[in-house]
Symmetry: C2
Subunit: 855 residues, 2 copies
């Protein structure tokens, strides 16, 4: 009792001397308190039950505990629970609750997370498990109001709020104080205190206290919320990147592509199970399915349809099971009573295109989900998120449905966003599966046309009998004959070389004098003379049809459409490759010879009678396919296509290395016939010739040349062959030149009529009289170099150069005759002009004569 | 003085009665202090300069300020600065600094963020701007050591650390205390105090103080760090989704696709500028470029190469400028001295495939970046992040280089991750641009083959002279003639109908007796008899070649490969569509008649002599292209291809609506010739016939029928025509049946040789004797229904049914003869069996006779 009095006196003194009291406190108490609070090692939680009065609580300790809680990465709910327990004591509130804000289907709602927290409560009793959540829409209740207005409310009497939760929980809410917890402008949660214990309602002071502690609650929830958002965004990025990785792996069909992507992202989806239903994309029915409906024989479809008017038919379901033992089920043509379809949700999504986020599926009124476990594991459908997979044309191609978020909570807006990103990506990627289909179709169409082309251009069985008359002689087809039997035919029919020197080896050989069949026979002979038939095991029943087909393609089939002269210019000359190789064979291998001769046969296959420039100007698909040397690459293409046909493949018995080389040489030889490339490479040819002069020893030179394909200058060889008509005797050259000119004039006509352009003089029929002048230019600027250098290279070629020079003289003489005539006309014109103006027109008409006089 | 004594007495009392003192404090002081601290409205920062002693500092207020700082979303640096200022006072440290941890190029480093914080410092003086950062590698200095070990260090003497920063800052570090700030297991920053003011070094107590405050620093940095990570991940997701949206918009080339994606994500990249260089993908040179090098004429390339061996050539640069006025520059074939290439960095990245993250570009020793401003805006290169764009084949297709992060800091590992996700996505998406190229190539190849097919199958100019002899008669080509001139030719050559009834209208018409040319003329005649030539303005110079081409394609070209009998079966019958339409024309429109006749001409174009099943089994591209009715869809395809050629398009003067209808009818008519569909729809045909019987009035029925294409039953009409040989006089039927059978046997032979399967009896040459039995079955199960129902439909058809039944009798008779013969043989065999075992084999051989006896 005495002590009490002394205490009372001291109290009076201290009350009277606040300055002293504060000083004493700062020195003696405060450091100790703060020091204790900051001590990291002191981990024991406060025993809140011992608090007896606000003023006696070591309040700071509570705060520091909170900071440590957050720092130690503890459960958000535990930290907030501790704070709320403390708050409910300070506010004298009977209970406090925390409601988390989230959105589903674009609609906000609040869900109980901590419920009925009182100062003596235990966390486990207050933490609401996901399946016991009470969910509030924002348009009802106190908490909904707080979340909508984002402002604190103090409700003295709850009569004007219909609290349906009270009925659920059999608890009467009399008054309440609730406050929103924000992250920037977004509501994260609502905290509510109900039923003031020591008064009729919460006071202004309670509001103040709650507001003060909000900072801490905010901080806790902010870290929690940011972690959650970060986790969701990270998963979203992963889902997109992994899907992309699969989608771009290869071009494939929609089923495979979707499956690869959906399987690879399974770990990021954070749900128990998901299924994808693929929709039939058929828009219009075939007449044989449509007519029975039109005739009233079959009832028309009256089920739901996609927004673009398709009947909703799931032709395949893929079911990904992640709970328990991982499994994938593929259900082709699932029946409508399959558990994944029977609810009607996928059809609804396919019909409306809406994203549907459903919680407590078993209790859903609109869709009837299976309430029983789906399998032996006892797993049941709880929460469902379903969305359409929509392609870039806005068509729904499928429906993806996700079941039961891993943590038991319903899917929220972040899940919606993540899954939507995935389905959006998948939907867009249908461009690739559509492309795959288109590509296959295109490839098949190309193959069909290619087959048709081969059918039409290949030497027919009856045609080959003109060369290999096996029916007559042996009573069977060539491919049924022994090689000896075929050989006998070739010898008997004088196709095979006899003792006298073959005519094709003569420089003056002219195919004008030969029938198509003769040319075919000459062609076959060339292979024999090169001695490659036996060496490379060219089957005789293949070689003959190959030469027949190639020759016909270069000559007759095309000639029908074009000028007969074309035949002379294009064919034959190349066959006389032998003419040159005759001497060059020393350093050309047999394989190289065969490649070049074959290239010769193929080098003008399917020529169009017009040049590369015309293909470009007329927008021919050839020009779109090949960037340069357009026709040459086409001749090569078709030549190789012939050689891919087993019945024409003269290379079929070559080994891999030989085959690659022979094809490579053909590539070079045929492309090289593009004169544009000749101008590129002619200085190089000159260098080779120069180099050859530095060798004194003929054998050393031969050895040196044999080492490297480049040195053999296949390209210039091809040019020399292609131009050889210019070095033929004048009778031949003059005929060939006219027929080539005629082909040019035909193109000139086409340029005028089709392209509506004026042709260059060389192709202008109206300038036909200039042919001799043009030929002189052609010799001077294009041909002379080739034969001059080749003669320097091999002296045996000199006769060709001589003939070229002779032809130059002939053309020049014609040119001079023409020029004299023109001068004469001009003079006459001038004279007449001075006489009458009427004579003018007549003279002009005469100068435009369409005839080219050659002699 | 007295007061002092009283104070002293009070002090003594309080010291002696701690229980009382604490109670008094709790009641009178603590609530006030805490209340002040929690007061949100009190925003004034603490004046740290007034602190004189730790014990007198209102320490809690500092802590609560910190919490508010974080909560108010203030700058991280400001919050930490406040904490450090307070700490430097408490630790008696001369200065404190904060170093942020980050990674670049996969290597960790620390960068000064807050430097030289003392108790009196101002934030602006301590906050290090990005371009003044000092960067520490982790393998040197105290802070590097702390970040590596993740442990606090107290360094009493710094001699054993080489502090290069001291030299930079002209400050002597004597002793230091440093601690790592963690986020989970990751270092986020290092905080360091240097030079203890009131002692030789920092004490254990200082370590304790620092540790205590670490909780707060951690929390601040954690929120900061999480926000940053969340922002980066969100941007990454956006970058991927937006890129995908563009990539999947359409198939296009690499330049366009990259540009679309790179442009659309610009806002998320958070940098001033970026450029993308596209690499030449050429792997091998053309021979004409290669040879000059091999010949030593051109020096070989000795610059850097990509890992897959390509020369590094940037053929295009796209430069995105986001600082100042947004702009995009496209630089085709940039020179190596372009500012974006001159540093050598893009080439280095293209060569090594490495990601290069460079800060302070101007001072980089390895790469020479332009130090001067790039443009008038004065913008210079500071930080650079460059990385390869790699496709799924692991080839580097381009290099993306990003300049100057928006906030001035160097690019960190999050930037590397984000940009890498983008370039990875772009690289993978090259599948689509490659596909685009392949697709165009394929399309062009298809077009080339299609052109070649058309060239080969189209009626030639000289061929059409057999029908329209315009050269002989008018001295010009058909397309140069007037319609009247052509008409005159047709009349004169008796192609056009004369007075007597046309032979083709007779049921017994048999094309066996007609030449190909006759059939062409008949075909042309049909269009005239239908009176559609003038009505639908079919140009005569188009109609004749069309019929010629279609007939030849269905008959002669194909017949070369197949049986002559084929010709009878397939061609001609359909031309006699008129036979039926003759009476049905009452409710068929002229347009419908023309469509059906044209469909008849096209319905067997390019038939392969084998059936649909064979196409499937042999893997023909036709079967890959068409899922059902394979050959029928092919006939339709080629027929339409013919009609797309202007010189064959008999529909060229129809209007849009007419054209669509006529094509639609052809679709139906030609597909309907698939017998598999006949079985599907024949009950429906019966229904139509039943319905027709319910009309008493013939005109009403006609009107009813005319309303709807379905009711006219084009499909069954086509079947009736296609099967008509079965209803021809016996002489014709027996010939046709044998030729059809011969075609089947040919397929059977192919099945045996090519597919290595046993054919069905119908196609088995060894079961030829069963033909009469098979024909009976064919009549009973396929044909009878058609003609029975058609006769019910139109009484005029009855003669066909009669002949069908007659043919049935004939076949049956043959069947019985054969069966009798077989029974006889069987009996003989049995008899012989009982005699000798040797006779057995002879009998079997006889029963396998290859000959089918018909009479």
């Amino acid at each position: 009792k005495m002590v009490k009095n002394v205490d009372s006196a001291a109290e009076q003194f201290l009350d009277a001397n606040p300055q002293f009291a504060k000083q004493y406190y700062d020195v003696n108490f405060r450091p100790k308190v703060i020091s204790d609070l900051l001590d990291n090692s002191r981990k024991t939680a406060l025993d809140v039950s011992k608090f007896h009065d606000l003023t006696t609580v070591e309040e700071s300790e509570v705060l520091f505990d909170l900071v440590r809680d957050i720092q130690d990465n503890l459960q958000m709910e535990k930290s907030v629970f501790n704070l709320m327990r403390h708050l409910s004591f300070m506010l004298r509130a009977d209970r406090m609750s925390l409601f988390m804000y989230r959105q589903r289907n674009g609609v906000a709602e609040l869900a109980t997370r901590l419920f009925n927290v009182s100062k003596d409560a235990a966390l486990d009793d207050c933490l609401v498990p996901p399946d016991s959540e009470i969910v509030y829409p924002l348009d009802m209740g106190i908490v909904g109001h707080v979340a909508s207005t984002k402002k604190m409310v103090n409700v003295p009497v709850t009569s004007f709020y219909s609290e349906f939760v009270d009925e659920l929980t059999e608890y009467k809410t009399k008054n309440a104080l609730a406050v929103p917890i924000m992250n920037g402008k977004d509501v994260v949660a609502v905290m509510m205190a109900v039923n003031k214990l020591d008064g009729p309602h919460f006071t202004a002071k309670d509001e103040e206290t709650l507001n003060k502690y909000l900072n801490f609650a905010n901080l806790i929830l902010r870290v929690f919320h940011l972690s959650y958002l970060h986790n969701c965004e990270t998963r979203r990025g992963q889902v997109l990147l992994w899907s992309a990785s699969k989608v771009f792996e290869e071009l494939t069909d929609i089923e495979r592509q979707f499956h690869k992507a959906l399987y690879t992202v399974r770990a990021f989806l954070n749900c128990d199970r998901y299924s994808v239903g693929l929709l039939d994309m058929t828009k219009t029915k075939e007449f044989f399915d449509l007519w029975p409906i039109l005739m009233g024989e079959v009832p028309p479809y009256d089920g739901p349809k996609t927004p673009d008017g398709r009947e909703i038919i799931f032709y395949k379901l893929i079911d990904y099971i992640l709970h328990g033992k991982e499994d994938i089920k593929v259900i082709p043509t699932p029946t409508p009573d399959h558990w994944a379809l029977i609810s009607g949700l996928p059809s609804y999504v396919a019909e409306t295109g809406l994203i549907c986020n459903i919680m407590n599926a078993a209790e859903d009124e609109f869709f009837q989900f299976q309430k029983e476990p789906l399998d032996d594991s006892g797993w049941t459908i709880k929460n469902v998120l379903s969305m359409p997979i929509v392609n870039k044309k806005e068509e729904i191609v499928g429906v993806a449905t996700f079941y039961n978020r891993k943590d038991g909570k319903p899917f929220d807006e972040m899940d919606e966003t993540l899954m939507e990103s995935l389905t959006q990506f998948l939907g867009w990627s249908v461009l690739n599966t559509d492309t795959y289909d288109r590509m296959n179709k295109l490839e098949n169409r190309k193959d069909i046309f290619q087959d048709m082309v081969m059918y039409h251009i290949k030497c027919r069985k009856d045609e080959i009998q003109n060369v290999l008359n096996t029916r007559e002689r042996w009573g069977k087809e060539p491919d049924e004959c022994e090689e000896e039997e075929l050989q006998e035919i070739l010898v008997k029919s004088e196709v095979l070389p006899n003792t006298k020197k073959s005519e094709i080896l003569e420089f003056h050989f002219c195919d004008f004098d030969h029938s198509e069949l003769d040319l075919v026979k000459c062609g076959i002979k060339m292979y024999y003379e090169l001695k490659v038939v036996d060496k490379f095991h060219i089957p005789r029943e293949v070689g003959a049809p190959f030469v027949f087909t190639a020759v016909c393609l270069s000559v007759s089939t095309i000639a029908q459409k074009r000028l007969t002269g074309f035949r002379t210019k294009r064919c034959g000359d190349v066959e006389k490759k032998d003419e040159y190789t005759g001497d060059l064979k020393r350093y050309y291998t047999d394989l190289e010879c065969m490649a070049m001769v074959t290239a010769g046969f193929c080098h003008d296959i399917d020529h169009r009678g017009t040049n590369n420039l015309y293909q470009m100007k007329s927008g021919n698909p050839l020009a779109k396919l090949h960037g340069s040397s357009i026709l040459e690459r086409h001749h090569l293409d078709i030549g190789k296509t012939l050689l891919r046909d087993e019945s024409l493949n003269i290379y079929q018995n070559l080994n891999r290395r030989q085959h690659d080389l022979v094809i490579h040489l053909m590539d070079i030889a045929i492309i090289a016939t593009d004169l544009a490339l000749y101008f590129k490479s002619r200085t190089m040819f000159q260098k080779i010739v120069d180099q050859s002069k530095t060798y004194e020893n003929w054998n050393d030179w031969t050895k040196y040349m044999m080492l490297e394909t480049t040195r053999k200058e296949t390209a210039m060889m091809m040019t020399a062959c292609d131009l050889s008509a210019i070095a033929k005797p004048w009778e031949i050259q003059s005929k060939v030149a006219l027929s080539v000119a005629a082909e040019f004039w035909e193109q000139g006509d086409l340029e005028r009529t089709v392209l509506e352009q004026n042709p260059i003089p060389m192709m202008d029929r109206n300038k036909a009289a200039d042919l001799p002048k043009l030929q002189c230019g052609f010799i001077d600027f294009v041909c002379a170099f080739v034969y001059k250098e080749f003669s320097r290279f091999h002296v045996e070629i000199t006769p060709m150069l001589d003939r070229l020079l002779n032809n130059r003289k002939e053309w020049n003489a014609l040119k001079e005759v023409h020029e004299a005539k023109m001068a004469e006309i001009e003079a006459a014109k001038k004279a007449k002009e001075e006489e009458t103006a009427g004579a003018k027109q007549a003279s002009a008409a005469q100068s435009q004569s369409k005839t080219c006089t050659l002699s």
